[in-house]
Every structure is written in C-alpha cells, then in structure tokens.
C-alpha cells in the first residue's frame, strides 16, 4: 500500500485556519445564545416590573450593562481575530445611505438611553447611494457609538451625523464627553491602546475597536479622523468615497 503523501506546510496552515475559524464561529455562537436570554429577560423585568425599588433596579441595570459589554467584547474579539487571520475582505455593494443608517438607529438610541444620554440624529445624506460594505460600516458606527456612550457622563448627548461633500460620504459620531487629551489623540487608532484616562477611570475596553474601525475605513479608501478638545467633547468622522475605488 502506497502511503498518502504528508500534507504540505501550506495545507497544514490552511487546515489550521479552517479549524480556528470554525472554533471562533462556534464559540461566538455559544456565547451569544445565552447572552440573548440574559439581556432579553433583564430588559423585560426592568420594563415590566413596577415593584422594583431603586436599589434593585440599579442592580439589574448594572447586570444589563455588563451583559452588553460582554456582547461588545465578543464582537470585537471575533472581528479582530478574523482580520488577523484572513485580512479585511470587504463585500462592496451599492446601497442607499438611509438603508444603512435607518435599521441601526433604534439600536443606537437604546444604547444611548441605557447610558442616560440623548441621541440626536442629523442625517443629511438625501437619496444618495454609496458603494460600501454595509456590515463593516455598520460595525464601525456601532463601535463609535459604543465608545461615545462609554466616555460621556449621564445627561450628555451623542450626535450621529451624515453628510455628502463632493464625492465623499461623511459619517460622524460626536459626544459631549470630557474629550481626548492632545497627547493621546495620535494613539487612539493603535492596536490595544488604552488611554491613561480610560485606565484611571476603569472604562471597560479591549483597545481594539478603533484600530479595527480604521482598518475598515482604510479598506474603503477613506479617512477616519478625530476632533477633540479637553472638556469639549469628541467627534470621530469617517469620510468614505461614494464610489468605491477598486
């Protein structure tokens, strides 16, 4: 009997990648499924129970916020691992900007409400269609809103704005938080970077979200920029070409 040839290094690497992808997909699924019940039932109890006193309500809100943070961490780790192993592959399609933003708005409104923040939408994209990856850009916007909510004290405001300037679509998320110190601004897109302020205030995070967001914008041929002043809030803007340059 002729022994079958040993797999090549490339074949072994491909098999390893397939195994990693399968594990990640399975782990993400198995974590998200119980989280769906945890988050869903906590929300139900908080909405429906008229008998909770202030302390009990606060405990449940803490548990709910922690559950959402866990879901966000899973999202970020899955996205990061995928980009590391496969690179960022975009699925570009022509889409009305409204069809991108409208389905996301209820989720963003809820995220802001949980942080006791007001969400203001200032959509000025009109009927424009853009060539972009809706899932990836949706992920980016979610990451920007999650960050804005984390850093903005209760009572503040998050503004989600869209605008068309020339052949670019601008999507920005602005907050009324404490702003980013000048020395930190140059580092916010670095992988695993956590600002000293975030560490001091124990703001949860992996330091991966903005670096992935920048990779998404770069892959579209756009720019991701930060404007921030101490105590003057922060605005992060993704400027994306309306016509994808292949």
């Amino acid at each position: 009997m002729v022994p079958s040839p040993l797999p090549s290094a490339e074949e072994r690497l491909a098999a390893l990648r397939d195994n990693q992808r399968a594990f990640l997909s399975s782990a993400s699924h198995e974590l998200r499924t119980p989280l769906t019940s945890i988050i869903g039932y906590l929300e139900m109890v908080l909405e429906l129970s008229g008998t909770l006193d202030g302390a009990d309500r606060g405990h449940l809100e803490t548990a709910l916020a922690a559950s959402h943070r866990l879901a966000d961490v899973i999202d970020t780790l899955v996205a990061s691992h995928r980009i590391d192993s496969e690179g960022l592959l975009l699925h570009i399609g022509r889409v009305e900007v409204g069809a991108l933003l409208d389905p996301l708005t209820p989720e963003f409104r809820q995220r802001c409400a949980r942080g006791r923040l007001e969400l203001v939408t200032d959509y000025r994209h009109g009927e424009v269609q853009a060539e972009l990856d809706t899932e990836a850009v949706g992920w980016l916007l979610r990451e920007l809103v999650v960050n804005a909510v984390k850093f903005t004290p209760p009572g503040g405001r998050i503004t989600l704005r869209s605008a068309v300037e020339g052949d670019e679509l601008g999507l920005s998320v602005a907050d009324t938080g404490p702003g980013i110190p000048a020395g930190d601004r140059a580092h916010v897109f670095e992988r695993f970077y956590r600002s000293p302020d975030a560490l001091d205030r124990a703001v949860a995070g992996t330091g991966l979200g903005l670096s992935i967001g920048k990779a998404i914008v770069d892959a579209h041929g756009g720019r991701l920029t930060v404007d921030s002043e101490p105590n003057g809030g922060t605005r992060v803007t993704a400027s994306l070409p309306i016509h994808h340059r292949r």
Partner: protein
C-alpha cells in the same frame, strides 16, 4: 397587525421574541424546529412574516426559508433571520435568500421595526385595491 411564525430551538429566546412581537400587536405562532414550523404552515396557512433562527438541529433556518419559498404562495412570506451566527458569510447567506438578517443578542425595537418594514409594502399594495 401581521401573522408571524417564530422558529427557534431555544425556547427562552422564542418566548422573548413572542413577547416582543405580540406586545407590538402581531399574532404569533411558534415552533421549536423546522418540522413543527412546516406542520403549522400546513395546518394554518402561510404567515406574513417568518422569524427564523439559523442554527437548528435537523434543518437550518436557511433550509427552512427555502422550503417556505417553494410552497405555493410562499414567496409572499417575508423572512427575517435572527441568529447568533454573525460571520459575514452567515449574514450573506441569509441575505442571498432575500431575508433580513438580525443578530443575537437582538434589540427589541429593531426586531419590531424589521417585522413592520417587512410587511409595510404589502399593506400599501392592499390599500390600492
């Protein structure tokens, strides 16, 4: 108000989906697997909207959506996938079947909005008669 069939092998999630959509005024039928869903459709007729989990034993939500589409009049049933599978290829597979794809954990208002959006054009068309 729409007739919604929700299918999920996780009964806790199924109760959540039912509660949210019933509270929004929709009529709900539920099934915990594809076979039960097809049985309900055979007995009660096609729903306006099918909210389908993707990862289920025996038959996936994607396969169930195809079976519903192949039924006489099945193309008129709008499909919303509600899944903890979030890889781009999973989402693309759902969208290629013409369904909206929502991920778990889900936002209740987004689910309600998706059901309402799925049926809105039909209601407009019906008013034209």
């Amino acid at each position: 108000m729409s007739r919604v069939l929700a299918v999920d092998d996780d009964e806790d999630v199924l109760r959540l989906v039912s509660y949210r959509l019933a509270a929004a005024g929709h009529r709900l039928l539920t099934a915990t697997d594809a076979a039960e869903a097809l049985q309900i459709i055979a007995e009660r007729g096609l729903p306006d909207v099918a909210v389908l989990d993707v990862s289920m034993p025996d038959m996936t939500g994607l396969e169930l959506a195809e079976q519903i589409r192949d039924l006489p009049g099945g193309a008129d049933t709008s499909v919303i996938f509600l899944s903890a599978r979030v890889q781009p290829e999973d989402i693309a597979a759902g969208q290629e079947l013409g369904g909206r794809y929502l991920t778990k954990p889900f936002v209740a208002t987004a689910l309600v909005a998706a059901v309402e959006r799925a049926t809105a054009p039909k209601e407009v068309a019906a008013q034209g008669w």
